[in-house]
Point group: C2
Chain length 480, copies 2
């Protein structure tokens, strides 16, 4: 056992005391001190670098297990990092070397689907796409659709308020969460929110949990709103030759009177590996600066798409005819693959010959062309490669920054990538944007917090955290 | 000046100290000690009974005025009740006799409408319908649509997280609020959230402000998301003969694949004055148990309505053909008028011959027939009249309880109405519901809080409040 205290917990953690209590109270197999097991939960997808392992891994099977662990951690001052599938991109689930990791992925039961009420009750370890699939059997859908849906958990989605591709029409995880069962650091189990669509009983502490990145408590059950499954979808692809054309398309869609169900962007860099073949398949002009995908859904998908086609016809951009379903699926897959470069598809971004940094920021979508002009200039000045995918309809941008491995060693390359990210974040903020749209602050975005949150607002954060977690054991030093 | 300390502020309020400071620092005319002015802001629409007047009224013209007042109130221990148009229905804006009232209705400027970005920046005193009208000039709409939209303010809507008639498709005030400028009790001015659609930088303190009923700080500016204005709307009216037919209609709409833009209910009692003429106008069967209104909007309103018509055709209920626009407007007006009985239309509910209590609660919409059976039995057993209007699609119910004035004096009648409300709230909670869907807890709903919020959750509320308002000057003793 690693007995060395680290991290921001004020008093020294008493690991021996903690382990004595929990090993006596937890069912067999829940507590794991094995080194390989500990190392396996030390990091997330924010970095390929190994992180120091935690003191122990706990794999709870029930709210009661979680309660035992938190009560003991609270008593013995042991930091707790809560983890779902570990697909986070900001380091929010990195282990703390003096802490434990609570791996919630085993609590993966869909407790209930109420088809008539369009409600699901799930444990936090349920994979997002699995819930959507279970809902589909009843003609329903789980609307939040992070690009990681096939591998991320509902609990992780709640921790970061995951957004994703359907956000523009359906909102983020926060809009889907009606109620939560939460274990507080004291070990007490509380319910926040409930089962109704409207609820203003008390402060919105249920909403506050969403996006709190494991700093307030542990979600052990979630009551989620489902939506009617789209009976139809329709999609256009649009190719643009310059950023002002992209901007005109964004404005045209915004003023069309139709809210698309998906409105995505891939630029030339993001398209470089698989884009040419895909564009050829749909008969688009070769080598555009950017491709936009605009989808509608529901009973009136075709009528709504016609309206969007009309709106886009004045922009100068090339607009495809409505895509065949297979082509639409191809284009969406192209877009999704890009979001986790180096992981889901080693051919795309972050490939072996490049050092890579994936970013997440948000701007008002009206400022896109200004953003790109400034970002392009800044990255060129640093000698860093820039490409962009974006949930363009809502202004949530995922720039990819790259440095060729044959030009720099890892240390200097990471430093350069960090400087480029810094420049892009400042550009976004100057345009009325913010430093994370859906990935969370975690560890990696904390240096930029003062650009967005004033000292007084950060003090409010600490006060709110203290109300939930007076001993600061929950993911201390992360998120804010 | 009323120097008597009252209310839950721990130390005695120093009114003389407060008045000396603010009268020196505020521009002329902002502070008002006139008795008539004080009495005019003492109550809201939750009661026709007069409330004791506050010590002073402040009518700020700027964030700076609000800052001066809160800093002084905080220093001298003077409770502050913040008020918009005073249309609240739960007593959340009732004056505290030892406190002051901050009347925000004069800060009523629409600061900016960004048509391309679909964003409005407003002061809190802007009337909700006025914002929607201003947005309409740009082909946009402000989606939240409380029945009080013509008379309530954005600030008041934020305080209660107002929902309303378009909630089922567009969400509540919380979904519209992107950013807030807030004056804290310390007098510090902070910004929470921002101008982007997605934003996970820090805890969602912006969302926490929405629905906080004046207990955390004072909103002095709000950045709000607008939506495309519906280019078309279409509506059906449905009449039902019993509650199981109503329930079948609710389930049919829920499983139709279409999310209506409005789905409302008026029962026989709510229809009794103007219902017969309206029903005759649209050719509906006379004297139904309930009328449902189902509206679709947008490019595909007609196609979506056809789908709803088909879904409803199997329920046994009478379904109108698509209504002419004038008839649709008539039916919506009928529905809106009922929400504030005794105020907007003295002929409807709470008429001169009745003591009246209007309620607000929410249930899962699948439990409606069970709710009504139990509520009907409970009110009959007490000899209290019951009628119902509802945002039926989302399960938000507004029962009206009445006692004939010729049967009881006011005191015993109010007691009886309170007992009937208690029964209905317990029925709602037993069915998985909650005690307020959109009006807020205010003063009147506090007795029932322990039915929904556990002692631990209430303790969390107090901790969060202390982080914002350590001296408990902001609407103390209200909301939670």
């Amino acid at each position: 056992v690693n007995g060395e205290a680290a991290g921001p917990v004020a008093r020294e953690a008493d690991h021996a005391g903690f382990l004595a209590v929990v090993s006596g109270e937890l069912p067999s197999g829940v507590l794991d001190l094995d080194e390989a097991a500990r190392s396996a939960v030390a990091t997330d997808r924010a970095s390929r670098l190994p992180q120091p392992p935690p003191v122990a891994v706990v794999r709870p099977r029930s709210a009661s297990d979680v309660s035992v662990v938190l009560a003991a951690a609270n008593r013995f001052g042991v930091p707790v990092v809560t983890r779902g599938a570990g697909t986070g991109l900001s380091g929010g689930a990195w282990a703390l070397p003096a802490g434990i990791v609570l791996d919630m992925s085993g609590m993966d039961r869909i407790v209930e689907i109420d088809p008539a009420g369009a409600i699901a009750v799930v444990q936090p370890g349920v994979i997002t796409a699995a819930l959507d699939e279970a809902a589909a059997a009843h003609g329903l859908a789980y609307a939040p659709d992070p690009a990681s849906a096939a591998i991320s958990t509902i609990g992780g989605n709640i921790a970061t308020n995951a957004g994703g591709l359907r956000f523009i029409k359906y909102g983020s995880t926060r809009q889907a969460v009606l109620g939560l069962t939460v274990v507080l650091p004291s070990g007490e189990i509380v319910t926040l929110g409930g089962r109704t669509r409207k609820n203003v009983t008390g402060l919105d502490l249920c909403g506050l949990m969403v996006g709190s990145e494991g700093t307030l408590g542990v979600v052990v059950e979630a009551t989620l709103a489902l939506v009617p499954r789209a009976v139809d979808t329709a999609m256009l692809a649009v190719t643009c030759r310059d950023w002002s054309e992209v901007q005109r398309c964004v404005l045209a869609v915004a003023s069309s009177g139709v809210t698309p169900s998906l409105f995505e962007l891939m630029d030339r860099g993001a398209l470089r590996v698989r884009g040419p073949a895909a564009l050829s398949t749909i008969g688009a002009p070769a080598d555009p600066l950017a491709v936009l995908l605009v989808q509608t859904d529901g009973v009136a998908a075709v009528a709504e798409l016609a309206r969007l086609e009309e709106a886009l016809s004045t922009t100068g951009a090339w607009v495809s005819p409505p895509l065949a379903a297979t082509d639409a699926a191809l284009m969406v897959a192209l877009r999704r693959g890009e979001t986790l470069p180096g992981y889901s598809d080693p051919q795309v971004g972050g490939a072996d010959e490049e050092w890579w940094l994936g970013e997440d920021m948000a701007i008002p979508a009206t400022r896109l062309s200004e953003y790109f002009a400034a970002a392009d200039a800044a990255s060129r000045a640093l000698g860093v490669g820039l490409s962009l995918v974006a949930h363009v309809g809502d202004g949530n941008l995922h720039p990819s920054l790259t440095v060729r491995r044959d030009s720099l060693d890892e240390g200097p390359a990471q430093d350069l990538l960090h400087r480029a990210a810094d420049a892009l974040i400042r550009i976004a903020i100057d345009l009325g944007g913010t430093l994370t749209g859906e990935h969370g602050v975690g560890v990696l975005k904390r240096p930029w917090l003062p650009l967005v949150l004033s000292p007084t607002v950060l003090e409010l954060h600490r006060g709110v955290k203290a109300a939930f977690d007076p001993n600061d054991i929950m993911n201390p030093g992360r998120a804010y």
